[in-house]
Point group: C2
Chain length 419, copies 2
Amino acid sequence: MVNVALEVQTKGRRAREAARILAGLETSKKNEALLAMARALEEEQETILAANARDMAAGKEKGLSRALLDRLLLNEKRIRDMAAGLRELAALPDPIGEVTSMWTRPNGLQIGRVRVPLGVIGIIYEARPNVTVDAAGLCLKTGNAAILRGGSEAFHSNQALTRVISRAATAAGAPEGAIQLIETTDREAVNLLLRANDYLDVLIPRGGAGLIRTVVENATVPVIETGVGNCHVYVDAEADLDMAQRIVINAKTQRPGVCNAMETLLVHEKVAAAFLPSLAAALKEKGVTIRGCERTRAIIPWAEVATETDWATEYLDLILAVRVVDSLDSALEHIHRYGTKHSEAIVTTNYQTAREFLARVDAAAVYVNASTRFTDGYEFGFGAEIGISTQKLHARGPMGPEQLTTFKYIIFGSGQIRQ
Amino acid sequence: MVNVALEVQTKGRRAREAARILAGLETSKKNEALLAMARALEEEQETILAANARDMAAGKEKGLSRALLDRLLLNEKRIRDMAAGLRELAALPDPIGEVTSMWTRPNGLQIGRVRVPLGVIGIIYEARPNVTVDAAGLCLKTGNAAILRGGSEAFHSNQALTRVISRAATAAGAPEGAIQLIETTDREAVNLLLRANDYLDVLIPRGGAGLIRTVVENATVPVIETGVGNCHVYVDAEADLDMAQRIVINAKTQRPGVCNAMETLLVHEKVAAAFLPSLAAALKEKGVTIRGCERTRAIIPWAEVATETDWATEYLDLILAVRVVDSLDSALEHIHRYGTKHSEAIVTTNYQTAREFLARVDAAAVYVNASTRFTDGYEFGFGAEIGISTQKLHARGPMGPEQLTTFKYIIFGSGQIRQ
């Protein structure tokens, strides 16, 4: 216990010092460090794969699920992908130092708002070792120090990855302590990080609902909540039904296990009979189970019964809840009641209905005639992503480099005093 | 206890419903409501003053300090000022609905970022009843519902003010529940608000360090921290010493009890002997006590001894700590160690020194050749202020209307699905 506290404190202090230097590091230096990290990953692939093999063996012994083992696995391709991600980061513009606005007050004071790093970012995550590299890279790009705490299943992989990239970054001119991993697997480390207000400026949990709840409920450090997406597609009375079918199938099946996949389909009663049979057949072919309201089941007799629980569930699986609604208002009411403010879509050809949906849905991303699956930092054009925020403070929706920054005011005076 | 929970829950739900309507309320309606609130304050002045008289009598009986009683007091002028504040708010531009950027992706998706209200804002504050009106007005202007919890000393005043303004707002078209006061004085209400994640999108504590610490440490609702300012002025080796004296006197004495007042003066050793004697005499005349380091006391023999505690103290009083430093680096190190990242100023004529100070100080507002007292929503030109954020997430520095908003992405598609 004492050792855990000492580790968090030591690494916290080192991160604070590193953050001061990182804040002033030139863009070219940061990019060189990112490229050096990419090269090191490739050059030291054997070490990384050997460490990962230890985690995989332990995971199999512990009886981890196939899905979990798949997330844990590293191979040549995945290492190449991580390296490619770092090279893409290096090629992105540096958000730090941008003066986003500047104005002059009647007394002559000139006030500018300049983008600066947040400082030290804590990332708490689960089994995917690639988060180690993605998060470290994005933090470095934005001039932040990173303190990483990955899941115990990936311990050796994370340790190897962190050693490789942090050594490379330091050799390329980044300060010591820019990228650090909490190396104890003692769960007390998480509790200490949650309350490490002296060392951390923000905590970003990445993982399942349980992890996120724990962090939100116990942290005194400001948190950016990520994750849960109970997303809807609403097919309006006036809709191109072919387009609607393409969008629904994409939103449900293209990658069902992620937060921007659709979980509930809402269909206007006027088009339900025309729309649902062909859709249901297509979904069935893709292996999707349908759980419907009574009116849905009158049209798709083989659909299972949807209960109250279904409307509120993020399946993350090939299951779709379907509800027939009698109006746009009913659809909006359903979304308001069960949605998690992540991504919501309407399919409609009506101008006014589209505008109302956009205006009245309270969610990070509101779509007209497109799949919810686009809520993603890369798809939005941010060039990177550290998660999708489902809260409203600071960051909302996909978080790219800009969301890892804050600002300060710089004020140019000529002797002004306040009257 | 049960009643407290019921009150928080009932008002929380009502605020959520109000927030949905407020988010879509036209600018003109919101402004009409603000003007109606201003009129009502003036028309129902007698009721308000009578309620305030009860608080004042109880406060005197309880032996509240003169300073506290002064904060608690309402009179015709203060009511007029509150009404004027609401009218100024009505005249400000509405930040809601602004599309701050919009771009098109290679697949044709058009993505816009539009400013929307946060939702429901909880404000926890202390003795000043004018916060009730200022906060309610700013929340309404920005389309947010407000749940207010003022100090028990101001209970009757806050109750009267809230009734008057919320009735006027509703009559002018704002939804019921847009402005609500938690009317129990049971402290349990604060604990419930801190964890009311279902009803509150953000909590803003306004008051002393104790209140803010309680909120930050116990809230699960996201918090915007306000307040503590241990601000410095650094007089460089190359400085216009007359200007420096004007700025130091202003930053220390113009209003010593506020967070943007200077607490510690740092003086470069090269100018200490030339600068400090005349400054000290002027400060003495203003009733300022000086606590200095050894080198300061060698120049100002009557200065008291500054200890480690002094460097870390926000006096909020006519006391000034003074330290002679040997370089810009030493000044920056002192600010890094003891500062609270609020407002920091340098007085210099050297171009490069000014740039370095601006770049290397990590604070909400960094000044060259101006008083720290300008860190203020009105002085920055925001037209209003709900507090000064000392955290880095979401809002930093003076919080005007824009800081009470968030954004959502609106995405215009033509059938796009993800590959």
